[in-house]
């Protein structure tokens, strides 16, 4: 049959975030799927190098809207490792608490989105209503619903009072009851089972080969979780199971996420019970000694990694972020091979993608010559000026103003 290449995105109703994909079709069948990352590139890594460590905590928090705490914790952990800071126990417990609350809100959000993608909007409405419970708890603990701003290098900024702990436990009971109901729905509702089973299959072998992380890997039977394998914060002091599944498809990923929700409730109960008394922050000097560190964190979507290089000043020399979606995006092409086009939205949604987390570097290709060309910072600057001049836009006055303002 004649092959057709269709672009999906960057702006497309099937995608929740803008990103460019290209799909080669033969009839309704997908022959090839390729992703072109870079549309959401915001230059956060470069911006981190130009700000102090204190400012970078808030900047890294804004890498992702859903797993904001994951990124800021990952960054602070790396900096604390370089500075050899002993973070107070209570601060580590509060970080874990907020991290798990974030996982609950992210997984409930995903369940709603997955329901929406397969046309089960009832599930979307009810899971998002219940998600408000955990959002209110986060707002009560940290002040805001997203971008909690609770991390600081050397500890956390806000303490948890006894009344708040009580409110958290009460919310956990409500959420546990609701989650058990959704598990019942997922295992008994035939429309959901039939729509999700056998869709987006990723075998155990492929998951290992393509380096899948998080629930995507665990639904293919890969027993891997940073919280257990390389414990950070207070995870070494709590008991939990790593949920795996051998369905290898989108249905398996749904079951893994819901199982993780129940584990999160049990972790939070243990954390609230065991939380030690004491200070929540230690003072860290503004200048971080020279050194480098890599930090790992199990974000709701999978393993998040930050690399920080310090050079003895107030600003880092290099910050590198590897978001979980970057590891998982390769698997989507495998999942969609020889599948129907109608499965594309749910298969992409099933890895719980976050494209603005993923877009870290843009390689600029000279069109026409088919030769890759890496531009240096100054070259890129002059290139942009000449490009706009050719198009009749002159930024000379604006550039002068900018230079003045930067002085």
């Amino acid at each position: 049959m004649h092959k057709v290449v269709i672009p999906i995105g960057p702006q497309h109703p099937a995608l929740k975030e803008p990103e460019s994909f290209s799909v080669t079709l033969s009839g309704e069948k997908i022959m090839k799927f390729s992703a072109r990352l870079g549309y959401n590139h915001r230059g956060i890594e470069k911006a981190c190098e130009e700000r102090t460590y204190v400012q970078d905590v808030y900047l890294t928090e804004r890498i992702c809207g859903i797993c904001s705490h994951s990124h800021s914790t990952c960054f602070t952990q790396a900096v604390e490792e370089i500075a050899k800071v002993d973070v107070p126990k209570r601060a580590l417990y509060i970080r874990t608490l907020v991290g798990e609350l974030e996982r609950i809100h992210s997984h409930l959000l995903w369940l709603g989105v997955a329901g929406h993608e397969v046309g089960f909007d009832t599930l979307l409405m009810y899971t998002w209503r219940d998600r408000e419970v955990v959002m209110d708890i986060l707002a009560m603990l940290t002040g805001n619903r997203v971008n909690y701003g609770i991390n600081m290098i050397g500890g956390v900024r806000r303490d948890v009072s006894a009344e708040q702990a009580k409110a958290i436990l009460k919310a956990m009971d409500t959420l546990e009851e609701r989650t058990k109901y959704y598990i019942q729905v997922a295992t008994q509702e035939t429309t959901l089972i039939q729509r999700l089973s056998g869709v987006g299959i990723l075998s155990h072998k492929d998951a290992l080969k393509l380096g899948a992380v998080g629930p995507t890997a665990r639904a293919s039977g890969v027993n891997r979780d940073v919280r257990r394998d390389d414990p950070y914060a207070a995870y070494s002091e709590v008991k939990f199971k790593v949920i795996t599944d051998d369905h290898n498809d989108v249905y398996g990923r749904t079951l893994v996420r819901m199982g993780e929700l129940l584990e999160s409730y049990s972790i939070i109960r243990q954390i609230v019970k065991k939380m030690p008394e004491g200070p929540i922050i230690t003072k860290v000097p503004r200048k971080i000694p020279a050194g480098e560190a890599t930090s790992r964190y199990e974000a709701p979507r999978g393993e998040d990694m930050h690399y920080v290089k310090a050079n003895g000043t107030e600003k880092p020399e290099r910050v590198k972020v590897r978001a979980p979606t970057l590891a998982n995006i390769q698997t989507v092409a495998k999942m969609l091979e020889d599948r129907q086009l109608a499965d594309l939205p749910i298969v992409i949604a099933a890895i719980d993608p976050c494209f603005s987390c993923t877009d870290r570097l843009t390689g600029i290709r000279q069109t026409g010559k088919r030769k890759k060309n890496v531009l240096k910072w100054e070259e890129l600057h002059t290139y942009s000026i000449t490009f706009y001049k050719e198009h009749g836009i002159d930024f000379t006055d604006l550039n002068k103003k900018m230079a003045k303002a930067l002085k």
Binding site: T52, Q55, E132, M140, G143, G149, Y181, Q188
Partner: protein, 125 residues
């Protein structure tokens, strides 16, 4: 038992329940105690150390000396990311968060709020 319409009972139950949404903006939203909203400045407490300016991730705050031990503060609400790091950094507690969050404006210069040393808050026209 595997069957369709598993959530039907739940849906029918909801007909007799109050809606989960609130009637904003007619009923005002209540913010939590630790909410980080609009930052206000107390000129009498400021000693002009400019730690807030140094720590602001967005460069939204400006402290200017206008006389002997007198400082005025300009906050650009359009740039502010409401992290309240300036409040934490302030040694003399001259900055404070409020629960005010409805800060949208139609003109960019109206987002610049200046706190004068003598008169208090004046928005730029």
């Amino acid at each position: 038992m595997i069957r369709p319409g598993k959530m039907l009972k739940q849906v029918l139950d909801s007909i007799f329940r109050k809606p989960a949404t609130t009637n904003y903006p007619f009923t005002k939203a209540v913010m939590p105690d630790k909410f980080r909203g609009k930052i206000i400045f107390h000129p009498e407490k400021c000693i002009g150390c400019k730690m807030c300016m140094r720590d602001c991730p967005a460069g939204a705050i400006q402290i200017r000396k206008i006389g002997d031990k007198k400082f005025e503060c300009e906050i650009d609400l359009g740039k502010c990311i409401y992290c309240a790091q300036c409040v934490d950094s302030c040694l003399k507690k001259a900055l404070e968060t409020t629960k005010e969050f409805e800060l949208a404006a139609l003109e960019r210069n109206k987002l610049k709020v200046t706190y004068h040393a003598d008169t208090g808050e004046v928005s730029k026209e």
